[in-house]
């Protein structure tokens, strides 16, 4: 508590003492605040990141010491691994479908909620709930059941006289049930959109009304441009998140990524290589490829953002 007060009292005048409090002791105090993070960063993040990079150039099965094999893992991944390309395809399909749909729902409902109608807090909470529950195993269990052959989805379709497929066990549809699960969780981007919409001053719309702009024009000329920073933010967060999706696919496919690898998300493939077959060097290389993809995506988004993201300053 009193670290600074215990500094050696070699200088008699109190004013000087307080000036001298800087320097080493001050650094030491500052670093004592930083220490837990610093230890964690060095030991659990930086160290493992470097180790992972090294392991990605090795053959490593946990039992024996890693053997350095140069670029062989990467070479095999790119040229000779059907599952890698397949899981890439599954993951990209998922990202490309789930993220825009989710954001569209989020924005649409945020705009409806931004009308200042009664009951806003209730609707906001109801729409947000699935986002909060989404990551849990219970929801994946529920989803598996909803889209079973005799599940609720098909019962609902039955009302319209449609005989639905057995979604989860049909490789043509299984991935789309996961897309739907992701879209169902549009609540958290919706709340961020809502906060963004609140920032748009109403007089902009009043002026547009006077100029005779209709609602569609107002959306494309005012709302969307002013909201681009929020679209940008939500887009990046949701995309990175979608690349990392794991639990629902794992639970719904019982860890296999099936049927016929139709839900073999990249992270699921990585998990299988690392923790089912103990090819840990290979899995490390897969992890680095994921890192590179995410980094490229992020860099690309930031670079192109200057052409379409408008900051109001």
């Amino acid at each position: 508590m009193t670290t600074t007060a215990q500094i050696p009292l070699t200088i008699s005048e109190p004013e000087k003492r307080s000036k001298r409090r800087g320097g080493w002791s001050r650094t030491l105090v500052s670093y004592s605040f930083l220490a837990p993070w610093l230890i964690g960063f060095l030991g659990l993040t930086l160290g493992p990141t470097l180790a992972s990079l090294y392991l990605s150039f090795t053959n490593f099965d946990l039992l024996q010491d890693p053997q350095f094999i140069g670029l062989a893992n990467y070479q095999r991944i790119v040229t000779n691994d059907v599952k890698f390309w397949h899981s890439m395809q599954v993951t990209f399909t998922y990202v490309i479908l789930a993220v825009p749909l989710k954001l569209a729902f989020a924005l649409g409902l945020a705009m409806v909620l931004n009308r200042g109608i009664a009951g806003l807090p209730l609707y906001r909470a109801l729409f947000y709930l699935p986002s909060l529950l989404g990551a849990s195993v219970a929801i994946a269990v529920l989803w598996r059941q909803l889209f079973a052959k005799d599940g609720l989805a098909n019962v609902a379709l039955g009302f319209f006289g449609i005989q639905g497929p057995s979604w989860i066990s049909d490789p043509n549809y299984s991935l789309y049930t996961l897309v739907l699960l992701s879209v169902w969780q549009f609540g958290s981007p919706m709340i961020i959109f809502l906060a963004g919409l609140r920032q748009i001053p109403p007089d902009v719309y009043e002026a547009a009304n006077i100029d005779g702009a209709n609602k569609v024009q107002q959306f494309f000329k005012i709302t969307l441009p002013l909201l681009t920073p929020v679209v940008f933010f939500n887009g990046i967060v949701q995309t990175i998140d979608a690349f990392k999706a794991f639990t629902p696919a794992f639970i719904i496919s019982e860890g296999t990524g099936g049927p016929i690898d139709s839900t073999l998300f990249y992270t699921l493939y990585l998990y299988q290589e690392g923790f089912a077959y103990f090819r840990m060097g290979y899995a490390s290389a897969l992890a680095w490829i994921l890192l590179i993809i995410i980094a490229c995506f992020t860099a690309f988004s930031f670079l192109t953002s200057r052409y379409w993201v408008h900051y109001n300053d």
């Binding site: 930083l34 993070w37 195993v137 019962v155």
Partner: protein, 286 residues
């Protein structure tokens, strides 16, 4: 609400009714699966499938009793394990992240910008990259199949996101308060403890609640580090239930799914406003 009030004026009653219809429709479609799961957990097995009704014809608590006793280990054990891990994680995260956030927000020290940039960098790093070396590390420490790999990182501020959240919050606290405390002879520890923390209760609570919920729902960490059924968390217990019961005991599976969601739902019910504000202002993903 006030911003939107201007737009509301020309939206007539019919218009607003239409919006309510849309919103109620969407809410119903979204929440129906959850309600159906809840209802199914009170139904006997043969009544669940091909039945969309929310009201059980014959109401029974059987599924809860069967499910709770579990396969080899009681669900009570899973529940306790999850609770221990989640509570320790909350304590760890709140302490370690607030310490680091205070250092970054308020103290001056050599290399500060360097460390800060690295901290921000870890926000982008997918955990898959550190996964395998961390596993090897914990295996060599003989920590696998204990709670340590799940809990210790929280005491080392491994969730940089919360550092950032608290950093933003601390920065918003007027500097005059620190300066007044310094004049009164307080050092950084005293300022941290008596000025910053009391003023940051909403941010600390947000971090604590999200830590609890995310840890409670975490599946991947326990999947990798816990092998022994007596160590399993609720999520792992639920998963073994799915795999081994297959298609036979759906009502028990639903009942335990409901049980697994209860803590999260409780937190949501109580802190809903705080959680939503946390998302709106910080972009927590939730």
């Amino acid at each position: 609400m006030t911003d939107a009030a201007a737009t509301t004026q020309n939206v007539g009653g019919a218009r607003s009714l239409l919006y309510h219809v849309i919103l109620c429709g969407v809410s119903l479609v979204m929440l129906y699966p959850l309600l159906w799961m809840l209802a199914s957990s009170f139904k006997p097995d043969d009544e669940i499938f091909g039945n969309a009704s929310l009201w059980p014809d014959s109401f029974t608590l059987d599924a809860y009793i069967r499910g709770w006793s579990g396969l080899t280990v009681s669900f009570g054990t899973f529940f306790w394990n999850s609770l221990v891990i989640a509570v320790l994680s909350v304590i760890g995260n709140v302490i370690s992240c607030s310490l680091a956030a205070y250092a970054f927000a308020r103290l001056k020290f050599p290399l500060k910008n360097f460390w800060f940039a690295l901290m921000l960098g870890t926000l982008m790093l997918p955990y898959h990259v550190t996964l395998i070396p961390q596993y090897v590390l914990f295996l060599n420490l003989d920590w696998v199949n204990t709670f340590l790999p799940l809990v210790v990182p929280k005491f080392l501020a491994a969730d940089a996101f919360f550092i950032f959240l608290l950093y933003q919050f601390f920065r918003g606290i007027p500097r005059e308060l620190d300066e007044a405390a310094i004049i009164d002879g307080a050092g950084p520890w005293r300022i941290f403890w008596s000025v910053m923390l009391p003023l940051s209760v909403p941010a600390l609570a947000t971090a604590a609640i999200f830590t609890f919920i995310w840890t409670w729902d975490d599946f991947f960490g326990p999947l990798i580090y816990l092998n022994d059924a007596s160590q399993y968390t609720v999520q792992l217990g639920l998963r073994t239930f799915v795999d081994s019961t297959g298609k036979s005991d759906w009502s028990a599976l639903f009942a335990m799914s409901v049980v697994a969601l209860i803590p999260v739902l409780l937190f949501f019910g109580v802190f809903q406003r705080l959680l939503i504000e946390g998302i709106a202002t910080t972009g927590l993903k939730g």
